[in-house]
Amino acid sequence: MPSADAPVTLGRPGAAAVPPRPDRWGWLRSQGLGICCGLATMLLLAIGSVVMAATRDGASAGVGLDDLTAFFARPSPVHLWLYALVPVAALYALNTLLATWETVTTRWRAGLRAPRAYAAAVMHLSFLVALLAHLAGGFLSVEGGAHVVAEGWQPLPGFGEARLVTLDVDELPNGMPREVRAAVELRDPAGRVESRVVGYNQPLSGGWGSRLALLAELGQVPVARLASGEESCALAQEQGCVLGGERVEVLAFAEPRGRRAALVRAAPAGGGPTVRWMAPGELVALRGGRPLLLVEAAVVPAVLLRVREAPGNPLALVAAVLLAVGVVMMWRRLAPASGGASARRVPGA
């Protein structure tokens, strides 16, 4: 029975006795090809790192995070390294897949059941999933913009509506933030409310990390507290809500003569939407005759959340788990050789 740790010679199954069947495609799953692909990948990435740094303000300006679309949206000879990387990575993946299939089936058929015999296969799988994660993340990620979340309910793409309940900042002796705890509430379309906490390294997350809202900034922002009869909402700049059946938006704030006023867009009685400055306590009539009151314009705590759809993240998580499992399954190979190495003659001595 083959040993679990025995290296498998690919492309030459069943040595000596039986003459090997001619294997025209053996090279596709050979270790040699894998090594060549590995070296080529390294070289192309090294070139890419230099090229991206040199053209950061030019052809590579749009390349950010894990994005791949920027390389294709504005094709340029500057990105040749990436265009070459695509077929190399594809060949690398095919080579890994075929080699792994060959090793796993050979070992399984030979009756090998020790998990460590399949450690490398699990790692290879992790590499393949990581490549898929790159594709998904690189081509399908969407930047959802930055959204101010303050005391009023506001839509937060991917999370329904959100509002800030409390903002606690724990400071270091020098005044720098040590930790930020922004307690927020999320409301889904059915009206169910859920409490969550956002902070540095603690984003709002959904769908196994495929939807994220990350803390970008925190501070104080002016909000306009508006009311129409029983209905009310609190709007920061460039936010809107529906009051009295009409959409109302706050475009700006100003402080003429020390009193904060809000520039409000609404549809007044008998006309299309108009933009007008409103002072606290001021009342206007909306279309349909309902009143719109600016109760007050106050400065309140707020956080700025950057929203991102990153469908590669769950796949990357799978790849990470597989890689970790592969490392654990390999522990026998990693553990210091008992007696072996130390019993050997000391090299160079």
Partner: protein, 260 residues
């Protein structure tokens, strides 16, 4: 390497002695390597102990893993090399001299930088950082020790070096894999992406491919008759570590991972 820290609490004068003491021990190890290599392990181990004390004290002062500035970073690199040196010790001058040379260079650089303490910035404050960075330093340590083995092989062509290279290469690969997992998760919670087109991240991937390519060489029949390939790859690996560790911070300009 994370973003730079901000000025922290005052640093007690005695703290500096621990690092200098560790440096002196490494100096003794070098002397032993020249005169009687077998004795080099003990001063090396004592240096590790002093440096661990230095790190622990600094950690207690800032309430976090003390890897927030250049001196701590280079000291950690030295510590990792020393630690791997103690664990994988071979009483052979050909291996010890290159290893201790790298260790000395890292230590000297750590001592050259200001010794002040820094608070970690908020983005560093996650469990993923203290997992990600020490794991990567340990991998650097393994690959440095493997490269020293490569130099030793080219010095005496003793085939007994090759299993040591393989083992250290595989340790480095495993540690680096775990480090990349932690870094990836940190990337998601901090920036929303597990991979960034950032020089440090790209070079980390290059290192990973180098390590994974290297572990296959032993298993590749067509390379069986070329024993120099593994030592050569081990030495190349160390050069790549240099680019990934320091080069990306100094050669590539803006990086989310640049030194402080």
């Amino acid at each position: 390497m994370g973003p730079p820290g901000v000025m922290g609490p005052p640093s007690p004068a005695a703290l500096a002695f621990l690092l200098q003491g560790a440096a002196a021990c490494y100096g003794l190890a070098l002397l032993a390597a020249l005169l009687r290599p077998r004795w080099a392990r003990w001063p090396l181990a004592l240096g590790v102990a002093l440096q661990l004390g230095w790190s622990l004290w600094r950690g207690l002062l800032i309430g976090f893993l003390p890897l927030t500035n250049k001196t701590e970073s280079f000291a950690a690199a030295a510590l990792a090399v020393a630690l791997v040196g103690v664990v994988a010790f071979r009483p052979a001058r050909a291996w010890l001299l290159p290893l201790l040379g790298v260790l000395g260079a890292a230590m000297a650089t750590a001592l050259l930088f200001p010794q002040g303490l820094h608070w970690p910035p908020p983005l560093m404050r996650t469990a993923w950082y203290p997992a990600h960075v020490p794991l990567s330093f340990l991998a650097y340590g393994c690959w440095t020790a493997a490269a020293a083995g490569g130099v030793a092989w080219f010095t005496d062509r003793d085939p007994e070096w090759l299993p040591l290279l393989d083992r250290l290469g595989l340790w480095g690969f495993a540690l680096w894999s775990l480090s990349m997992i932690c870094g990836g998760v940190w990337g998601v919670v901090a920036w929303g992406a597990w991979f960034l087109w950032d020089p440090k991240v790209v070079w980390s991937v290059i290192l990973w491919f180098h390590a994974s390519t290297s572990v296959h060489v032993r298993l590749t029949p067509s390379l069986a008759g070329r024993p120099w390939v593994r030592p050569a790859l081990a030495i190349t690996g160390f050069l790549l570590v240099l680019v990934a560790y320091v080069g990306t911070s100094f050669l590539f300009g803006r990086s989310s991972h640049a030194f402080g």
